[in-house]
């Protein structure tokens, strides 16, 4: 998902004595493979992850780690393990988060298939957290600034180099140094001057938002249009900030209880984006994502009160890129016209 494989690989390769197999990059073949063996009406992340799992098994893996999450995602691993077994693969699928709660570290230590280097476990857990933190920070900086680049691709090039250096870092200090080095380089990149800034907020279901292949690289597209992009959802937010933030949201918001996965967060963020004067909001989800379907009418109503346009997009393997581009183009044209008035 996104570039997080760099961080996950970094962690596992330092903590486990086992051989780690890096998953292949997601392509149309991954999705096709996943959809072939998935129920048709399951949400798209299931199909992506199943496709990746089969590819990894083909490459020789015997233990798979599924992240899991707070919605149906938390039960994915059981169905996926069953499907893989029916296909004749012998493997173990481990789920890290189920029902919104992570499994305990002790449980992982007791799992016989892992040979964990206990000494380095804590150190690298800490370093990986830091790495993800810096990656997310850099990405939010890029989303706001890449739209003004003079030379196309200059930001992406630096980002790629930074990730490469990250994977070789040895200490928290080193990570920080690399981050600041590249931030400085990016700040020096030549930029276009614009009269009016147009800002767009991206909200929705986490997988579709974070995997560029699943959202037709919507962030790059918006940046190419010259629009700044803000996205709340990233791993730092989901794993380390969400719990605390949701408690705050519930206290001051008209919704008084949690409504599943990230639905509450997205409604709150809609309100926040409107109040900050954003020009438009794009809501993305994979087809059949139940929590987001519940959130959509409320998001529409909130945005209506502030007179901010929202574009709802639903993505799965049958979504045509042409239809997506037409809607995006029209949305961008509209934001520009609104701004000019």
């Amino acid at each position: 998902m996104g570039s997080y494989d760099v961080a996950v690989y970094y962690f596992l390769s330092h903590v486990l004595k086992n051989e780690i197999i890096r998953p292949r990059e997601i392509t149309s073949a991954t999705l096709e493979l996943g959809s072939k063996y998935s129920p048709d009406f399951v949400c798209t992340p299931f199909k992506y992850t199943l496709g990746t799992m089969i590819e990894a098994l083909e490459d020789g893996a015997d233990t798979l780690i599924q992240l899991g999450g707070g919605c149906r995602y938390g039960y994915y691993h059981e169905l996926q393990a069953k499907i893989l077994e029916d296909l004749g693969y012998h493997c173990q699928v481990i789920n890290l988060i189920s029902g919104g709660n992570p499994i305990s570290v002790r449980e992982l230590f007791h799992n016989s298939s892992f040979q964990i280097k206990k000494k380095s476990f804590l150190k690298y857990a800490f370093l990986t957290k830091k790495m993800v933190f810096y990656m997310d920070k850099m990405d939010s900086y890029i989303r706001v600034n890449r739209c003004y680049e003079k030379e196309k691709g200059s930001f992406n090039k630096l980002r790629k180099q930074m990730l490469l250096e990250f994977s070789k870092a040895k200490s928290s200090f080193g990570l920080r140094k690399i981050y600041h080095k590249y931030l400085k380089k990016m700040k020096k990149l030549p930029r276009r001057k614009v009269e009016r800034r147009i800002r767009v907020g991206l909200i929705g279901e986490l997988y579709t938002l974070m995997e560029p292949f699943a959202n037709f690289e919507v962030e790059q597209l918006l940046n190419d249009y010259g629009f700044e992009v803000k996205r709340y959802t990233d791993v730092t937010y989901l794993l380390f900030q969400k719990k605390k933030k949701v408690k705050q949201y519930l206290k001051h918001f008209f919704i008084k209880y949690r409504i599943g996965a990230d639905a509450l967060d997205n409604i709150y963020h809609t309100k926040e984006l409107c109040e900050m004067g954003y020009d438009g909001i794009i809501h993305m989800k994979s087809s059949f994502c139940t929590p987001e379907i519940g959130a959509m009418p409320i998001i529409e109503q909130v945005a209506k009160e502030y007179d901010v346009p929202v574009l709802f997009l639903s993505m799965d393997m049958n979504t045509s890129e042409t239809g997506f581009l037409t809607r995006m183009e029209a949305f961008c044209d509209m934001l520009e016209m609104r701004r000019k008035k």
Binding site: T27, S28, D307, D333, M334, R338, K341
Partner: protein
């Protein structure tokens, strides 16, 4: 004399408009795409009968095949149909606040405040409630789709037909015919179901404020027009040139963005060939389209990695 061309290549029909410096329509063409946008746009150009002394100073393309035809004609504006429709209608009818557009494969609603598009929505995956649904049902009933409007307009007792989905609507239609409803009332029911489907699936709680303009191919259907007014309880204006609005809008944009170049009058002589293939160099299996102009490869589309 200067003139500007706008071509709207839709899924079912292709429209062409030629306008002068003041935005007046000099001539227009409306014909079927028949699955071949390149051929259809050639025909459009031929039938527009551009006078010899005319200097074409801008060409705009819109509709689902806008990119490829834009490349073929070397257009100076290539715009999506939503923007094009809005621009055309606002020019002709500046006070408009709501545009209802129902075409062959898609239907959209565009909300306009003070001459600016403020919101829009488009139908999603399903083609229920669009022109192609009407024409396939017309075939089933053995009636020309052009006569649909008048028949529906004459009926006073439209049959209730499930409007949510094309397949359900069709089986409902068969059922209603078999229990003895007259053909005229069924046709009226179909037109009514188009309106209900549009209001439920596309508008979804958006406020339709007057003046409302109804356009796109289906706006020629008097029955659908009548039921829109009846169900909304508001006046709905069907523009005389409602089916040409996309082409007209993009012609206006071409005029606005005109960069001084003058197109040659021999647009029809260009040799333009496309050819599709699949690349198997990686697991993306991209579907590639190669485009040849005058036997020279000018572009390749569909590559995800940027190899082509």
């Amino acid at each position: 004399m200067n003139c500007y061309l706008g071509i709207d290549i839709g899924s079912i029909s292709t429209k062409g408009v030629m306008i002068d410096e003041d935005g007046n329509i000099l001539s227009s063409v409306y014909l079927n795409t028949d699955g071949s946008p390149i051929e259809a746009s050639r025909k459009v150009l031929k039938q527009l009968s551009i006078p010899e002394d005319c200097a074409i100073r801008g060409i705009g393309t819109t509709g689902s095949a806008r990119k490829i035809i834009g490349l073929m004609l070397n257009a100076n504006v290539i715009k999506n149909e939503i923007t094009a429709h809005a621009v055309g209608t606002i020019h002709l009818y500046p006070e408009v606040r709501t545009i209802i557009e129902i075409g062959g494969q898609d239907s959209k609603i565009i909300l306009i405040r003070n001459g600016v598009v403020t919101d829009y929505a488009m139908n999603t995956l399903c083609a229920a409630g669009t022109g192609s649904f009407l024409s396939s049902q017309a075939k089933r009933l053995g009636v020309g789709v052009e006569e649909f409007g008048d028949i529906a307009h004459a009926s006073n007792t439209p049959v209730k037909i499930a409007a949510r989905c094309t397949v359900f609507a069709e089986s409902d239609l068969v059922h209603k015919a078999q229990i003895g409803y007259t053909k005229n009332d069924i046709i009226a029911g179909l037109c009514r179901s188009i309106v209900l489907n549009y209001l439920n699936n596309v508008c979804k709680g958006k406020k339709l404020e007057e003046p409302i303009v109804f356009q796109g191919g289906v706006s020629k259907n008097r029955g659908v027009h009548k039921y829109f007014e009846e169900i909304l309880g508001k006046k709905v204006i069907a523009l005389e040139n409602g089916h040409l609005m996309g082409a007209y809008g993009v012609a206006l944009l071409a005029k606005k963005k005109s960069d001084g170049r003058v197109y040659k009058n021999n647009l029809l002589d260009i040799k333009f060939v496309t050819n599709g293939s699949e690349c198997h160099d990686c697991s993306n299996n991209c579907e590639l389209v190669r485009i040849y102009k005058d036997d020279k490869l000018i572009d390749t589309w569909g590559s995800k990695c940027g190899k082509y």
